[in-house]
């Protein structure tokens, strides 16, 4: 047997095997096909509209992106706040006045008046 003969022989046998499947399996396959076509009918009938974009996977990716962006924004705001506090503390500690003065009640009253 050469290569082509073997291929043709095996193909013929496999075709016969597929053709002679038992009735129950053939009926089941047919039912599966109809079920698949019924479920896919809306997609086959209608052109996908704007809502076609809203698929679970895409929605999950978009949500993950939003979470990452929100976290990055929050982190940036926190860093800025921290930098401001550090700057204030440094200016207090390196200033001419002793730090105890800022805790004094009179300084508090002066600050209120200054703000007004």
């Amino acid at each position: 047997m050469n290569e082509q003969e073997i291929i043709a022989y095996v193909r013929r046998a496999l075709d016969e095997g597929a053709r002679d499947l038992d009735g129950a399996t053939v009926a089941r396959l047919s039912a599966l096909r109809h079920s698949a076509l019924d479920r896919g009918q809306p997609r086959l009938r209608h052109h996908p509209g704007v809502l076609a974009w809203v698929q679970p996977r895409r929605a999950a990716v978009a949500l993950a992106l939003l979470v990452v962006l929100a976290f990055a924004g929050w982190q940036q705001a926190r860093q800025a706040e921290l930098a401001r506090v550090v700057e204030t503390d440094l200016s207090l500690l390196t200033g001419e006045l002793p730090p105890a003065i800022y805790a004094d009640r009179i300084f508090g009253l002066w600050l209120k008046g200054y703000r007004r």
Binding site: Y9, L14, G17, L21
Partner: protein, 187 residues
Amino acid sequence: MATTREIDTFLAGVERRAFKQAVYAVQDHHSALDVVQNAMMKLVERYGDRPAEELPPLFQRILQNAIHDHFRRSKVRDFWVRLVSPLRDKDDEHAETLESVAGAMEAPARENPEQRSVGNEHLALIEQALATLPARQRQAFLLRYWEELDVAETAKAMGCSQGSVKTHCFRAVAALATWLRDKGVTP
């Protein structure tokens, strides 16, 4: 875009061979039906808007992925079964034993329809020969020579290079020739 009728005709023409391919791969009648069902669903739901001429290679790719998914799910299921099985008490083990005995008694009845349909002695031999092939060789042989995909389409469906497809096909044909010669089968 393929019409519903075209997809129906295409699937009707390919479903038996798809089922047999799945049986050869997963070695189980019911799992093979599940694989074919998943492949059909995916084709209709995701690729129903493709032209009819694109359907054959597309379906074969989906079918191979469905078979791959089946093995992946089986692996995960086996892992959890192995993990949980030491936690079961003896009563559960007994119950499982009884279930498995009952299942074993039912099993021939479930598998018989598939086996009964194979009345051809030569077909049985060829199916045995296919079962002895490594999975990738069998997959390449069936796609290339039974489904008549070209080398490029077969490579795409299998997710490998065209060179690998040629090698798998060559080895599969050689192995089948040896097997058939040893069994005294001549075309």
